[in-house]
């Protein structure tokens, strides 16, 4: 896997503004607001060349909880008013993920026994199992393990996965 090019520079996949129907450029304050909100340089996608074509189908961002603590509060109401559901590509950052091979192996070996139950695992150690997610999450927290893998065990003889 490789982070897709273009994610080296955050960009708005598409924005829907009322002005898009007139084929006009989004206003500078809106552009600046998005840039400030995402703490990143912002420029208009290459394909639009700074102008959104009339009637073009674009995704509409909606600002929800964000990990940024210093959101420019003054911009948020305006953005919420003018934006909708969004996907805003951000750069993919390289990290070192936890190796879950032992947990996956444990699940394969105990799938039948714990079918449809929630389990919390630390390596090949079962921390807690139960029929209710909350009790398992609470039990895992009480165990003191910082990053348990918590899953609802799928039955081995379950129906084929077809998305939903």
């Amino acid at each position: 896997m490789t982070a897709a090019p273009g994610n080296g520079h955050p960009f708005v996949d598409a924005l829907e503004y009322q002005s898009a129907e007139q084929g006009t450029r989004p206003s500078a304050p809106d552009v600046f607001a998005v840039s400030r909100l995402w703490k990143a340089p912002f420029w208009w996608p290459e394909r639009s060349k700074g102008v959104v074509a009339p009637g073009s189908a674009v995704a509409v961002p909606r600002i929800q909880e964000t990990p940024f603590s210093d959101q420019p509060a003054a911009y948020l109401p305006k953005l919420r008013q003018r934006l909708g559901a969004y996907t805003l590509p951000r750069p993919a950052r390289a990290v070192r993920s936890i190796d879950r091979s032992r947990e996956i192996q444990w699940l394969e070996e105990h799938r039948n026994k714990y079918s449809n139950q929630w389990v919390a695992l630390d390596g090949d150690t079962l921390l807690v199992a139960g029929w209710e997610a909350k009790e398992v999450f609470d039990g895992a927290r009480r165990s003191g393990v910082s990053r348990p893998l918590i899953v609802r065990v799928e039955p081995a003889d379950g129906p084929p996965f077809e998305g939903w």
């Binding site: 896997m1 909880e65 964000t66 990990p67 559901a85 969004y86 993919a92 990290v95 996956i104």
Partner: protein, 128 residues
């Protein structure tokens, strides 16, 4: 020929039934670790409600949408989280099912698959 090179190879094993990988979701300084299936037929990343609750999210406070499936539809709420999987972290809007007991955790096109060049070699049960 269109040669491509990749930084990571992941062997997902577990026979031919599906592709499932370890995922961490982070929001509000909370983290949950789970397994999720990669589904190129899914528009969004969708997770069980229980994981969103453990992240401290007010599920119904998110962006409400109705997701259509072969069996009907279900409601879900979008929230912005960090997704860590396979040595990469991305920040995306993902959806948490409105109903408890929803059993799927899926990495879909928008928010995860669209962030990578991804090649699946199911013959070898791996992707890169």
């Amino acid at each position: 020929m269109y040669p491509l090179s990749f930084a990571v190879r992941w062997d997902y094993g577990r026979g031919p039934s599906h592709i499932e990988i370890p995922v961490s979701l982070r929001a509000r300084a909370n983290t949950v670790d789970l397994l999720a299936k990669i589904d190129t037929g899914s528009t969004y990343c969708v997770f069980q409600r229980e994981y969103g609750e453990q992240l401290g999210l007010t599920i119904e406070g998110g962006h409400r949408t109705s997701i259509v499936t072969a069996k009907g539809s279900f409601d879900a709420y979008g929230h912005w989280v960090a997704i860590e999987a396979l040595d990469f972290v991305v920040e995306s809007q993902v959806y948490f099912a409105a109903e408890s007991g929803f059993t799927r955790n899926v990495l879909g096109l928008l928010g995860w698959i669209d962030r990578f060049r991804l090649a699946v070699t199911h013959h070898d049960c791996c992707f890169t």
